[in-house]
């Protein structure tokens, strides 16, 4: 009898790239994150064949929850075809055998960097957001151990102070992407650098959102149907980017999040940032049979849940004197 006879047969391959211990740890961390909405759970971020900062957090979350029957869509700044998105999609497909798609309505797992799709996510869909910096308090408290104490005490006054300062100095909230939100009335959370346009889509969402930072080794989650409120004043409200007046040069659509493309001669034109959605609009215009899901913002720019967003007209005149 040799040692080889006593040992387990050797497996050269572990499903989904991560070894079983890593997968188990990640899944337990994800469950904890779901149980405490918005709370940053530390986890042991594994080495991956891509560099830290290129979506390793999101990739680990996706690899640990994906099964062979899933369908995956990977987005980078709204685009399915950028190098980063294509690489991640190919890697996940090779390691887990999942089907891939660019259609939001067909995907079961959507890993994204910097955007939430325009089409509404449903129950049992999973949105994995790649997070560069999970700490919303970073710019008011650079010391992360102190920031954790502030989270523990829900001591978020400094965030409203920074809003106050923005109103005094600029007359409006100037934070563009990763606008801080309060989840379930308790934890302040950075929603990853999604534009303000996408921030309200997390509020009372039907889908589960997992946000994972690979370099910072933190992950957090927003369970389905959870309160997610952007920080604002009672008399000066959070606003999404103004898309009124912008028309998509490819599809003619309005009231979707647009990329501005410079053109020769110094002008610019707009194009819908969500390429999967744009592709379906183009195919539908050609008369091909495609199913376009309901979107978060309708054709006239109204958000699908009433009462979440304040119309720009409803804002009272500026209380500050930031303009003078």
């Amino acid at each position: 009898m040799s040692l080889a006879d006593l040992a387990h047969p050797r497996y050269d391959y572990s499903y989904g790239f991560l070894d079983e211990h890593a997968r188990r740890e990640l899944r337990r961390r994800i469950l904890k994150a779901i149980a405490i909405p918005g709370y940053q759970v530390p986890y042991a971020s594994r080495e991956l064949p891509i560099a830290r900062g290129w979506g390793t957090g999101g990739l680990q979350a996706t690899l640990s929850v994906a099964g062979p029957h899933d369908t995956i869509k990977v987005i980078d700044q709204g685009a399915d075809d950028s190098v980063n998105a294509a690489n991640l999609r190919r890697f996940i497909a090779r390691m887990t055998g999942v089907a891939t798609t660019t259609d939001t309505t067909l995907a079961t797992i959507i890993q994204s960097r910097h955007r939430v799709p325009e089409e509404r996510l449903r129950e049992r869909q999973l949105l994995v957001l790649q997070v560069p910096d999970p700490e919303p308090l970073r710019h008011v408290q650079p010391d992360s151990s102190k920031a954790r104490e502030m989270h523990a005490e829900a001591d978020y006054a400094q965030m409203w102070l920074s809003l106050y300062e923005q109103l005094v100095r600029f007359g409006r909230f100037v934070q563009g992407a990763s606008y801080p939100v309060v989840v379930h009335g308790r934890y302040l959370m950075s929603p990853s650098p999604i534009p303000r346009w996408d921030t309200p889509t997390l509020h009372q969402a039907a889908h589960l959102t997992i946000l994972a930072a690979g370099r910072e080794k933190r992950l957090y989650a927003v369970p389905p149907y959870t309160e997610v409120r952007p920080i604002e004043f009672d008399d000066v409200f959070f606003q999404v980017e103004r898309m009124a007046g912008r028309v998509c040069a490819v599809s003619g659509a309005r009231h979707k999040f647009m990329d501005e493309l410079p053109v020769a001669g110094g002008g610019s034109l707009f194009r819908i940032s969500d390429t999967g959605y744009l592709e379906k609009l183009v195919r539908a215009a050609r008369g091909e049979p495609v199913t376009i899901g309901p979107t978060y913002y309708d054709a006239v720019g109204r958000f699908y849940q009433p009462g979440v967003l304040h119309e720009p007209d409803a804002v009272p005149p500026e209380g500050g004197t930031g303009h003078d």
Binding site: E153, D155, A157, Q158, W160, L161, Y164, E165, L167, V168, R169, F233, D234, D235, V236, P316, G319, G320, T321, G322
Partner: protein
């Protein structure tokens, strides 16, 4: 500056103090390693009263202030404030959350070094507003109005409300600190050498503001200073500290005119 001219206000007749003290601290003790900063200090402050602590550098007077501001835990001692948040218990036993809420709602402090009490790069108005934000105010217009009001009370020029303290003079920075300290009308105001480091004319202006404030808002005040002139101007009663102990206490005039303890005599004569 203020809404009502102070001259129109008649002097209140003297009243008997019938209620208990607002602040009652006994047996305060604090060591840093082998150094005993505060050995045993007992202190009572009645509502509306101003108490001074004098003593040389290193006598433990600033440590007493830090203990009373709940910045540091005391090694021993009992500290009670007659406010609802205090719940009649020893404040040193409060948990972090309640300690912070009590400090925000009931205790205002002015430090000698403005950078300890202010965010030097936020606006002055924002510094004052932060106090109200911590107490739960979420209306921008109300924050703005309260910050302006509180800064006006501390005689801060209205046109500089949106300048950060980093761009202000020392006297102005102390006024911002004072405005921040009184923004929520605290029960207890702690002043740690509020005029030290200012030149004499600015000192006089800041002292004027403090005197007027004391007339208009009867806040129990504890003022720590090594400057007997400041203590003589502001304090009703005075404690003389040396090596972490109170060596003499009494009415300000009495202690400064007729000092009994040799150390106090030395201190008063060094001054005069």
């Amino acid at each position: 500056m203020t809404d009502q001219p102070p001259a129109a206000r008649p002097l209140d007749p003297p009243r008997l103090v019938t209620g208990g003290p607002l602040l009652r601290a006994s047996g305060l003790r604090k060591c840093y390693g082998s150094i005993v900063a505060v050995a045993a200090v007992d202190l009572e402050i009645y509502p509306g009263e101003t108490v001074g602590i004098v003593g040389e550098s290193g006598s433990g007077k600033s440590t007493v202030l830090r203990l009373l501001n709940l910045e540091e835990p005391a090694d021993a001692g009992d500290y009670r404030l007659a406010v609802p948040e205090g719940a009649g218990g020893n404040l040193f036993t409060l948990d972090r959350y309640h300690r912070r809420m009590l400090r925000v709602q009931r205790i205002g402090i002015v430090y000698q070094q403005p950078h300890l009490g202010l965010r030097m790069n936020a606006t002055s108005g924002g510094n004052v507003a932060e106090r109200l934000i911590m107490a739960g105010e979420r209306r921008f217009a109300a924050l703005r109005a309260a910050a302006r009001g509180s800064l006006a009370v501390s005689e801060f020029p209205a046109e500089r409300v949106d300048d950060p303290p980093a761009q202000l003079s020392g006297g102005m920075q102390q006024r911002v600190q004072l405005a921040k300290a009184i923004a929520l009308r605290p029960a207890l105001l702690l002043l740690d050498e509020p005029t030290t480091g200012l030149d004499v004319s600015i000192q006089a202006l800041v002292l004027d503001t403090l005197l007027r404030l004391r007339r208009e808002q009867p806040i129990a005040t504890l003022i720590v200073s090594h400057d007997l002139g400041v203590i003589r101007t502001l304090a009703d009663r005075v404690l003389v500290m040396r090596a972490g102990r109170v060596v003499e206490h009494g009415l300000t005039d009495q202690v400064l005119e007729d000092p009994q303890h040799p150390y106090t005599q030395q201190l008063v004569h060094a001054r005069l």
